[in-house]
């Protein structure tokens, strides 16, 4: 009966599921088809992050994962050192390289920076 009523009032049937799946699958297909774009994106991402923290460029890992109803980009970026809050140079080589717990870089307190837009809804998280 509920099914009947749903159809009567035009509620979503399998086509809504299909559209969702298609959206996701095409995103994945497009990514698979553009390894160069991903490489470039990776490099630019690292450049941006390097403005705030010093990173180990050799050990950066970027991957894409399907999570629930969306596609997420996961980046594991080992951090070597973090600039002092007042911006005076990094403590290069002083401390052991540490794995970052939270990478989502906040803009520095002095200047407001605009967030770079990405096409893929990305959650950048660290492991």
């Amino acid at each position: 009966m509920i099914e009947f009523l749903k159809r009567l009032f035009g509620q979503a049937g399998s086509s809504a599921t299909a559209k969702e799946r298609l959206r996701l699958v095409l995103m994945t297909d497009h990514l698979e088809l553009a390894p160069d774009m991903i490489e470039t994106m990776k490099l630019e991402l690292v450049d941006v992050i390097s403005r705030y923290v010093e990173v180990d460029r050799e050990r950066i890992d970027v991957s894409f994962e399907r999570q629930d109803r969306t596609l997420a980009m996961l980046a594991n970026i080992p951090i070597l050192s973090v600039n002092r809050p007042n911006g005076n140079g990094a403590h290069a080589g002083e401390a052991k390289p540490a794995e970052a717990k939270a990478v989502a870089a906040k803009p520095p307190t002095r200047k407001r920076r605009r967030r770079r837009k990405t096409q893929v809804p990305a959650t950048v998280s660290a492991r």
């Binding site: 399998s14 086509s15 599921t17 299909a18 994945t28 088809l33």
Partner: protein
């Protein structure tokens, strides 16, 4: 092999059974399980030899992928171990028909090029035990597959699975040839349309003497056959003359299940699900009658609807 004509019962319902019996020749060619002592001697005492079946058609869009997914599901439901190989490099769809597109991590070319083992690439089906998928690559081209490597892979898969079903791409180009190379049996899928019949005829010719292909007729519309606007099963097989594995009627439900990624073979109560199970039984060597699905039996409301010009 023997067929009976459709019989039309007054009132609009079609009830007919197409009775098939495997010729002993076909059975012997098909069944190669543990009795294949030759293979065991060469490869080791515990090697079983499964069957590698390519599903092809020439014409695109007739239901190769749907048939592969559903036949594989039905065989696995019967307890067989089944691996489905998507040979449509660049245009993969077996994953999406099975609803497994989010679980594909590695693909056929990753295996063939040695980046991962086949175990790492195989995706277990969400719902059916003993059913696995080896997905195609999406961003590569068909000519990147080395035929002998694919054949070798299929042979290895045959050692571990009862059935290796290979979903061939449309056409008769390299993709088709590669899909066929590793198989020892063939199923051709045809719709009751002149273009499809013509293409299957061509493909059967190309398959040559190595195969004795069996036929699945898909997307039959009994109403149109009755009105003389569509070829009947007899029309089609009168031309093709192949052993008939089964007939599947066109059902809107098929689109719905592809939308959801749920093969109809999971629902044996549906005519299509039942038809695929009958086909699976026949592939497994059983002698079963196959009712042509009574999709022509319009319900009262359907007929009322069409009388009143239902919503157009």
């Amino acid at each position: 092999m023997h067929q009976r004509q459709d019989s039309v019962i007054p009132g609009g319902a079609i009830e007919a059974a197409v009775t098939l019996s495997e010729s002993s020749e076909a059975s012997a060619a098909g069944v190669t399980l543990s009795e294949s002592s030759a293979a065991s001697e060469v490869e080791g005492p515990s090697t079983k030899s499964g069957r590698a079946i390519v599903i092809t058609s020439g014409k695109g869009g007739v239901g190769k992928t749907t048939t592969t997914a559903n036949l594989g599901t039905a065989l696995a439901c019967r307890g067989a171990s089944v691996v489905l190989v998507d040979a449509d490099i660049g245009l993969r769809n077996l994953d999406i028909v099975l609803g497994l597109e989010n679980r594909v991590k590695y693909h056929l070319l990753d295996v063939l090029e040695g980046r991962v083992t086949v175990e790492e690439a195989l995706v277990a089906d969400k719902r059916t035990e003993n059913l696995f998928l080896l997905a195609a690559a999406q961003s590569r081209e068909k000519d990147e597959v080395e035929t002998f490597k694919l054949s070798a892979l299929i042979s290895r898969l045959r050692e571990r699975f009862d059935y290796v079903l290979i979903d061939s791409p449309a056409g008769i180009e390299l993709g088709f040839k590669n899909a066929v190379a590793g198989a020892d049996e063939a199923i051709v899928v045809c719709t009751p349309e002149v273009a499809a019949v013509r293409d299957v005829d061509r493909v059967v010719g190309l398959l040559g003497n190595r195969f004795r292909p069996r036929l699945v007729i898909n997307r039959l519309r009994p109403q149109l056959v009755k009105k003389g606007k569509m070829l009947s099963v007899d029309d089609v097989n009168g031309i093709l003359r192949l052993p008939l594995l089964g007939v599947i009627a066109d059902e809107p439900e098929i689109i719905v299940t592809t939308n959801r990624g749920e093969p109809l073979a999971l629902r044996t109560v549906t005519p299509t699900g039942a038809a695929y199970h009958a086909i699976a039984a026949r592939v497994a060597g059983e002698d079963v009658p196959a009712p042509i699905p009574p999709a022509a039996k319009g319900s009262f409301f359907e007929r009322l609807g069409s009388l009143l010009g239902g919503g157009r």
